[in-house]
Symmetry: C2
Subunit: 252 residues, 2 copies
DNA sequence: ATTACTAATACACGAGTAA
DNA sequence: TTTACTCGTGTATTAGTAA
């Protein structure tokens, strides 16, 4: 009830741990590097024990993978860790750069099956109508993201978004998700009333993006498998507006 | 002895407090905005009490100015606070952008008096010779920074730098400082062996930069008061090399 | 509704130690 | 040297309350 809301991706990371992760990234880039707890502790103004604990925390959070050897340890920032860092980076970009926009690129791909099943379930469908203001076409447009875009999708975490709550079905629980308002651009044509729906409990290394809209996007923009598309995520800062709090009020 | 080294400007800020500062900036920009502890606590995944304490901490650190009223409080991020945020931002830029360079602009201004006095003091002069590798010309070139550059100088905090330790004079203590390797560009000409010397205990809203070099820069680059100059700070990440630790070893 | 105090508690930290 | 354990201590946190 009063737990972290769905869109608070940045808040679920201990700031101290994130600082440690940032320093790991700064010393060795995001690929594997040797890190000593003493050096890390020095930079974090903490003891070697604390530095050690930070790395353990990061590992159990899935942000780094470690290889502890006798004279140190090899640390590699995972995709989830990079996503967390990029989310933080995006926050700062929004602070200091006036025109921050997140544009993800990819190509249309098949797979309207699974998405169609989920979004038509009443527990989700009701929330779409209430919170997005429309009944989505019963099917998703899946976009295969480019490698660059897969990395950058971590920046979505700081963006204004509509939370979709988890709900209990007859036999199982259906997880929470987040809907990001996007503009779909294909072949110069723009389609505005689109949302990217991202499950909250997801593998952050996912290379696909699922889009929903009032209409069938394949028809509206004359899309076929393999067509290149651009997904522009609305740059509004999450912090600018009531956001999830308003939805909670609405739901209560 | 084992306290925080001079260049660890980022480490002297509690990461949790910085996160709070970032969120204040995100909701209201850097100018005055109304913030409620409840909303801030929500976003930080903490209680309202903790949010309140964070704001008090930020205030006593000089990072925000507050105006507590009956139904909330008006918070304004100070220049020092913005500098701290920019330093963090610069760290993330260095993580994700390959070519980050910090170029500060300004104009040559008078005032070789005060700087000359300080840099010729033996306690400093010795360190310059040992750590910078040259005896500075006995005088500083002062640069009046542009408004934009005054804001951006906070980014220097993350840059590789040479620490200058505090020392005890006969009657007073002389404070620690940090020397940043820079390239001075004037009228197309470049002069490489220059260092910007920044006192560690400084008013972060300082709009001047003091430069030292082996030669008299006014002669070397034919500079007069008011001439426009560019100060390019070496983009090397502080984290890439031993840095202050090596100096400690050297000094021991 | 706010902010912020005080008091009880939990948790994070660093010292010491073992591997 | 490393990493990381346990353990005592201290600080940060939250609950409750006042203004």
């Amino acid at each position: 009830m009063s737990d972290a809301t769905a869109t608070d991706a940045a808040a679920d990371v201990d700031p101290a741990a994130l600082a440690a992760l940032k320093h790991v990234g700064l010393v060795g880039g995001l690929s594997e590097t040797k890190v000593s707890c003493a050096a890390l502790g020095d930079r974090l103004d903490a003891s070697t024990q604390t530095a050690s604990r930070r790395l353990q925390t990061l590992e159990s959070a899935g942000y780094v993978e470690r290889d502890v050897v006798s004279d140190g340890q090899w640390v590699r920032v995972t995709d989830a860790g990079e996503a967390a860092l990029r989310a933080e980076y995006a926050d700062y970009r929004r602070l200091f750069e006036s025109d921050v926009e997140l544009s993800l690129r990819g190509s249309v791909t098949g797979g309207m099956g699974e998405g169609r099943h989920y979004i038509t379930l009443p527990g989700y469908a009701e929330q779409f109508r209430e919170r997005l203001g429309y009944d989505p076409f019963p099917g998703t447009l899946n976009v295969d993201l480019t490698e660059e875009s897969v990395r950058r999708r971590g920046e979505m975490a700081g963006i204004d978004a509509v939370p979709i709550d988890a709900w209990e079905g007859e036999d199982r629980t259906y997880g929470a998700a987040t809907c990001y308002g996007v503009t779909l651009v294909a072949d110069g044509e723009r389609y505005e009333a689109v949302h990217a729906i991202v499950p909250d409990r997801t593998h952050h290394d996912d290379d696909q993006l699922e889009l929903i809209a009032p209409d069938r996007l394949r028809d509206a923009l004359d899309l076929a498998d393999g067509d290149a598309v651009e997904v522009r995520v609305e740059p509004t800062s999450r912090a600018d507006e009531p956001g999830s709090a308003a939805v909670e009020t609405e739901a209560a």
